[in-house]
Symmetry: C6
Subunit: 205 residues, 6 copies
């Protein structure tokens, strides 16, 4: 990795970290690092506060914004975008698709499942998803998935524009020290008010 | 499962139970529980009064509303929906699709079968459903299936809005005791008048 | 099978029997029964008067109306329809499709064959029908098949509405005795005038 | 085969025989028979006067009209059509399709080939035709094929209407004797003037 | 092969030979023959003057016109076309398709490749071309291929109409002697002026 | 390879070399040669100045223009184009497609992935890309890919028109000496001002 790339990766990872630290339904940061791990040039670790069995629509939207925080940081800071976000955008696409086609979370498409999981048994074993709907439904699915992703990406960009000073400050710090622990990150980025709104819906009754 | 999730699951299960207890063509409740069983966080058991060989259109619509009672309870009570209904919406989709494509129960599509069951013989054995109709028919099938599901979902929501007080009362009780027997449930939710209308069509002649 | 279902099945079978006894090109009834046989709750047996090598368009239309006589009886008598007709509608769909795509019996689509029969040789043997036509032709095929089925179904319903008194009388009798022989059925339903018109086209020259 | 069917088959076979005896580019009759052979209820044999290496557009159109002469006879004589023509219409469809997609004989589609022949090698051997064109071309192919068949069918019907007296006379004779040799047929149906026009195009230069 | 067919084949082969002898970018004739070889009734041999590594757009267009010279001769001379051109039109289609989809030679579709070559590994080995573009692109490909073929065919017909006297003279000669060597052909058809224009583009700089 | 082809290849290779030497985000030339290597008639070698882990949108666009520099040189200099660019246009298509479908670099299609990578396990191993989107999205992907390629091609042509004198001078030199080292090429084509703009975006903050 050359120096330019190191810089891009630092901003990319801090982008993930800030977004997840701002959204109420997202998990808090545990660690941010630009030390390479496997295929990735860096990583940001965030974990839920307690065990989770159910995924709610709002939690999944927050997770999508967090995933796109890296690409959003590249776009907000530089006049170019890189292949560094390829894994993030693959995961975000799968998640948005699952919300729409398996979890019934698109109002337009209703509380239904689209596409059939099929097991094809040859010599090996393979699970394939068979499309069982019309072209018009395929188009609506694409629209809904695209809108979910766009909405999550815009949320990420808005947060990073609001906290652009912090993004620069923490990224430059990360370039120096290479890894920030939860405590170090929290010191640089104290939990903002909007995070503390909690998840209100269960107290509503 | 954390405390928030337990609460959601309780309302979800009581949603199933109330819907099936109101619709004349649906089966009566045997048991409601929020003790985890396999993949599910809770369950509601309902059984027919006598053996059944034939499924009528009205019975199947009532079954669909019952399946969607859990998701409907989440939407009616909270400002979010969860992945807890994923199994329900998969089953409801399959059932609606079967009514339209295998049982000839859509007036628009007529007393016909759509799609060919095919056995593909490789080394293993596999049954696959081959689409043998045009895009226009595929679109009509999607419309009809979507309308069946929407109609069943709306029925479920209307019932739960009408009995919202009962939904809260029984769910909070279930959170305390974790399991309600048929007798306990019946005591909390005496069979309403609309249930006793019976299935009139056989007496019509 | 519960008592309600027994009643539905009786009317269903007598529906088949009356339609085949009225249409000139259909085969006469041999036996009607509501004693279960395999998957079916009852059966109606009808056989041609002599060996048949050729199938004519008119004979096949009469066969389709007979197949749909069961479902038509359910609709005419009750305010609901059941899964009891699922096998009938599968057979009727195949037959209508064959008339249109293999026998050249749709005027719109002409004396042609649509779709190629292909043998795929893996380890086992399999015959599959490959679609070799455009979407527009697929749509025309669907329309023609649908119209054939609708027309056959309407014929069945008209006959049963005309003979509704007989349908009730014979069905109630069948519920008592469970099986009617050819002689018993003929006594209850003497061959109507319209049946005796014969198949005129061969005498026309 | 019952008596009615025997009658239909006789007219069907004589339909083939008369059409091929009228069209200049078609082959002369060798034999007509209503004695069953394999799957077929009867047969008409016609052979070219000399060996043939090339097939011309006009010859192939005449061959199509001859193939459809059986079905045309059924329609011209009776108010019904039968499954007896199923093999004829399958062959006529294949031929028309080959003219359009393999022999470049549709002016609209030009001197080109449509669809790729592919050999798929599994355990067995199989030749399959892969579609490699757009939906719009598929539609044009269908139109062109349909028009070729319709045109050939209309030619057959016009010939049989013109020679309806002969059709009846020869068919009734065939019902008596069951087989007509070339000489017997020629005696009943002397070569008409239009046949003797020959194939003019080679003498045109 | 009967006498009529021999005549058609002679004109067909001389059609190839004249077209390739007129177009500047096409190869000169080496031999023309109506002695059968394998499946073909005759053949025309033409070879490039020097080894060739690159194929240019203009050379390929000339090759297409040459391939279609046989069919063009049939159409120009007779009022019918034959199956004798089936191999030519198959090759011309493949070539035009390759120019458009593999060589980027359609201005409308740009310097791009369309469709992915894929190797499917079963027990045997097979190369298949996977379509990876939209229906709209498929339609544009079809249009472009069709236009290339039409343009090449029109060029061939124009040449043969211009040299119709030569076409008749040489074909009748060929019918007598059955084979013409390069020298014999050149004597009958001296290289026309338009051929000697050479391939100008490399001298243009 | 004949002399004409040698000339075309020289201009083709120098086309690659000049484009990569002008664009700021492209790699500098290491070697240019018209000595055949494997399937290719010549080659141009260019390498990045430092190791690269990330690919940016601008770098990839510059790489595409470089790939198309050969075809652009043919079009700019001669009135014909050749099959010599077939490998270049295959690579450029794949790259543009990857930018749009795997790297989320089309603004219209958003930070998403299109199409699912699937592993099909038969006897051998195969990776196939399954289309999981609607026809409308397929069309948008095609448009975006086409626009990327067109834009890259136009950039290449503009550069070569601007430096046409150099293109002729260096190509004619290459025809003489057959191989140019980095030093020899640099002497003939000193780095232009526009190259030295560097990659500005990382210094922008």
């Amino acid at each position: 990795m050359n120096a330019r790339e190191k810089k891009i990766i630092a901003y990319h990872e801090v982008g993930h970290a800030i977004v997840t630290s701002v959204l109420p339904e997202a998990n808090p940061v545990q660690k941010v690092s630009i030390i390479s791990r496997g295929m990735a040039g860096g990583f940001t670790l965030s974990l839920p506060l307690e065990d989770q069995y159910l995924e709610s629509r709002k939690m999944l939207l927050a997770e999508m914004s967090t995933m796109l925080g890296g690409r959003a940081a590249e776009e907000v800071m530089f006049s170019d975008i890189t292949s560094g976000a390829s894994n993030d955008i693959e995961r975000v696409t799968k998640l948005a698709r699952r919300m729409v086609t398996r979890l019934g979370m698109s109002e337009k498409l209703g509380p239904m499942v689209y596409g059939q999981k099929e097991e094809l048994v040859f010599l090996g074993r393979e699970i394939s998803e068979q499309r069982d709907y019309s072209e018009l439904v395929a188009q609506t699915i694409d629209d809904e998935v695209h809108q979910l992703v766009d909405s999550a990406y815009n949320t990420a960009k808005e947060i990073l524009l609001k906290y652009k000073d912090k993004l620069i400050e923490i990224s430059e710090k990360l370039l120096e020290v290479e890894t920030l622990s939860k405590e170090e990150f929290d010191a640089l980025f104290p939990t903002p008010n909007e995070k503390n709104q909690g998840i209100p819906y269960l107290d509503a009754i």
